[in-house]
Point group: C2
Chain length 430, copies 2
Amino acid sequence: MSELRIGIAGLGVVGAETAKQIITAQTMLCKRAGADLKIVAVSARDKEKDRGFSLQNIIFYTDPLKLLEHDDIDLIVELIGGEQGIALSLVEGALNAGKHVVTANKAMIAHHGFSLAALAEVNNVSLQFEAAVAGGIPAIKILREGLAGNAIQTVVGILNGTCNYILSEMTSSKSAFQDVLKEAQSKGFAEADPSFDIDGIDAAHKLAILSAIAFGQKIPFSSLAITGIRQVSDVDISYAGELGYCLKLLGIAHRDKAAEVSMALIPADEQLASVNGSLNAVSYSGTPVQSCVCIGPGAGAGPTSSAVLADIIDVASGLANFAYGIPVEFLAEQKIEHHKSSQQSYYLRLSVTDKPGVLSEISAILKDHDLSVASMIQNGQSEDGPVFLVFTTHKCAKAEIEAAVQIMQKSEHVLDTPMVIPIFDTCSFG
Amino acid sequence: MSELRIGIAGLGVVGAETAKQIITAQTMLCKRAGADLKIVAVSARDKEKDRGFSLQNIIFYTDPLKLLEHDDIDLIVELIGGEQGIALSLVEGALNAGKHVVTANKAMIAHHGFSLAALAEVNNVSLQFEAAVAGGIPAIKILREGLAGNAIQTVVGILNGTCNYILSEMTSSKSAFQDVLKEAQSKGFAEADPSFDIDGIDAAHKLAILSAIAFGQKIPFSSLAITGIRQVSDVDISYAGELGYCLKLLGIAHRDKAAEVSMALIPADEQLASVNGSLNAVSYSGTPVQSCVCIGPGAGAGPTSSAVLADIIDVASGLANFAYGIPVEFLAEQKIEHHKSSQQSYYLRLSVTDKPGVLSEISAILKDHDLSVASMIQNGQSEDGPVFLVFTTHKCAKAEIEAAVQIMQKSEHVLDTPMVIPIFDTCSFG
C-alpha cells in the first residue's frame, strides 16, 4: 500500500479532531484512501495542551512554515485560518514545493482561490477545500461532481450557523437581537467579536466559492452585495411569521446576476425554513436535475473534520478533482447581465406616527413608484409612541422600492429607517 | 482532448434525456469531463419514435447486445432495467470486454452488485450506479466520497417517490389509499402494476445498495425485512397527525442490525417529515460528521439523467471510485448483532367493539407483556360499528409487542388485524 505523508498546520478544535480521527480510525480511513495515511509533523502554538491524542512519533513545530522544509510530507492540511498572512504563505509555499493542500480556510479561498488553484495545476498537485463551505455538508462535492451534469441556475444557502442560530432563537423565544447574541456568545455559538458572522462576511466567503464552481466563473469576492443581520428586529420576525414567512440570512446566487448575502423572507413551508439552530443548508437548482437541498451541521470539530478527511481521502486515492471542477484557465470571467432587471417581492416596515393621513401619504408614495401592495398589516397601537405599518409588495424592481423608501424617510411621520427585506417565494426550484 | 465513446442501451425517458443532454450540453459536459463525450451507438425498440434529438451519425440497434461488438465503445450506459435477463447479460458482457458501465438499474445492483463490481475490478474498468438510488440526489457520491471520513451508524431514507406521493396525498387530502393510488396511476406517479413500489421492494433495492456502501459490508438483499404501504389506512395517518407525527415509508439501516423498509411515524417537525410528494431524501449519521440530510426529486427523466451524466463525467475524468468505495474483496461479510435487542416505541391501533370491559382487557394484555403506554386515544364513537383504540408505547422489544398483538387478535372484542407501526423519534441523528 502506498503512503500519504501528512503535515497538519493548526491544532485548534478542527485540527485536533482531524489528527485524532486519522490516528484512531486508521484502518477504516486507510482502506478508503487506498493508502497509508501517516501524520509526519504538526504545528501549533502550544505543544503541551491536551488534545485527546498522543503526539508521540509526530514532529512538532510552533512555526508552520517549518512543515515546508519536509521533503517527506506529501500533503499540507492548513487549518490556521485568515485571509492572508501565514496561512497564505504556507499554502503558496506548499503548492510551489509540489505538495498537495487541503484547507478549511474560506477567507483565503474566497480571496485567493483562483490563483492558488492555478498554482496547484502548474505544480501538478491538488488543492481541496470542502471544509471551507458548510461544515459537514459535502457542499462542494455535491455541486462539483454529484451535479456535474447540470447547468446550475441558482445556489441558495444558509451558510452561517451563528446567524441562523440567532435568527432561530429570536423566532422561537421572541427575544431581541442583542439578548440572543449575548446568549450565543456565552454558549460559544458566536465569537467575542461577531462581526464576520453577523455582518454576512463569512457567508459571503462561502457563497463566492460555491458560485464560482456552480457557474464556472471567476467570481471576485468584491462583486458580492453583502448585508448581515445587525439591523434585524424581533418585530420583523414576528410580522414575517404572521405573513406566513420565516426570516433567514441567505446566500443567493443566480447565474449571470451579482451574488448577494441578505436577510430574506421565505415561505414557512419551504424546506430551508425548517433549517434551524446552527445548521447550514445548500440548495442547488439546475437542468436537468431540477433541485437538490442538503442540510447538516455547518461548523464544529466533528463536521468540519469530516470534510477535511474526505479531501485527504480524495487526494490519497487519486480522486481529487480540479478545485473548481475544471482547470482555472477554463473558468469564464464573471458575467452579470444588468439588462435583466430582476423583479422581486419585498417586505417593508415603517415606524410612523399614529396620526390621520399617514397611510394615505405612504400609499401615495407607493403608487407613485408603481409599487403594488400584496398585503398590509397595521396592528401596532400605542397611546403616544409610534405604530408600525407593514406592507408586502408584488414583484417590482429593487430601484423602485429603494427610491420610494428614500422619499418616505423624508416624511415627518416616518420615525425610523424603514426596514426592507426581499421575499423569496421559492428557494429550491430555479 | 481524449475521447470517451459511449453506447446507450435503452432510450426510455431517462435514456433519451441522457442522450439529449450529451448532445445539447456538449461543450459544458466535455469541459467538466476533460474528454470529448461521443455517443457511438444506441439500442431501443423503436427507431422512429421522436425522442427530442437526432439519431444522425449514431448507430441504432434493436438488440442491445450488439453494442458489445463495438471495439470503439469505451462505456456502456445500461438503462434497460430488470434484475437479470438482457440487462445483466449486457453489463456482464461489457465488463468482460473491458468496457466501463454506468447503470440506473437498482434491482440488478441490489441482487448482483458485488459480483459485478468484482468483475469490473478484474477487468480494470468502472461500474457506477448513482442513478440507481434516489434519482437526482447524489446519494451514493455523498456517502461514498463526501462522508468517506466517517464511520456511518445510520442510513434513513425516503427512497420511493410513489409511496411518498401516496402517503403525502392521503395526509393532505384525507383520502383513502385506493383512491389516491388510482389518482397516482392516472397522473403517471404509479405504475399500472404498482407492486414493486407499494410493497417496498423498490425502496429495499436502494436501501441494500446504500447499506453496503455505508457499512462496507456485503449486505444480501434477502436479509432485508420489507413491508410496504398496502395496509395503510387514512385513519392511521389521521391519528399520527393528532399525536404530532407524520407517517412515512422509510428505509432504515443501522450498522450491525438487519436493514428494513417499513412504515414509520416520525415527529412532524423532523426534517424528513416535510419531504412530501414524489421527493426522495437520504439521511446519514455517523462519526465525526453527526448527520447530513439530502432532499431532491427521486425519479423522472431530468433528475435520473443528472445522476447518469455525473457517473459518465466521473468515468471520463478518471474520478470514478470503486463501486462500493473500496475493492469488493475488502467488503466485510454482513454482521448482525442479534444480542443487541433493539428497543423501539410503537403505535398500535385496534378496532374493537364498543362494549364495557374492552379497554380493561387490552390494558391487561399490554401489562402482561411489560408494554408501557405513552399515550392513548379513544375518540371513535359509533352506534353499532367498531371504535378505534390507539396507543403509543414507550420503548420495548419488537417481540413483546408482536406477542401482545397475537393475543389481542384472539379476543372476541378485537375486530380487525391490529395495526402496529414503529415510531422513530429522530431520523437524522444517530
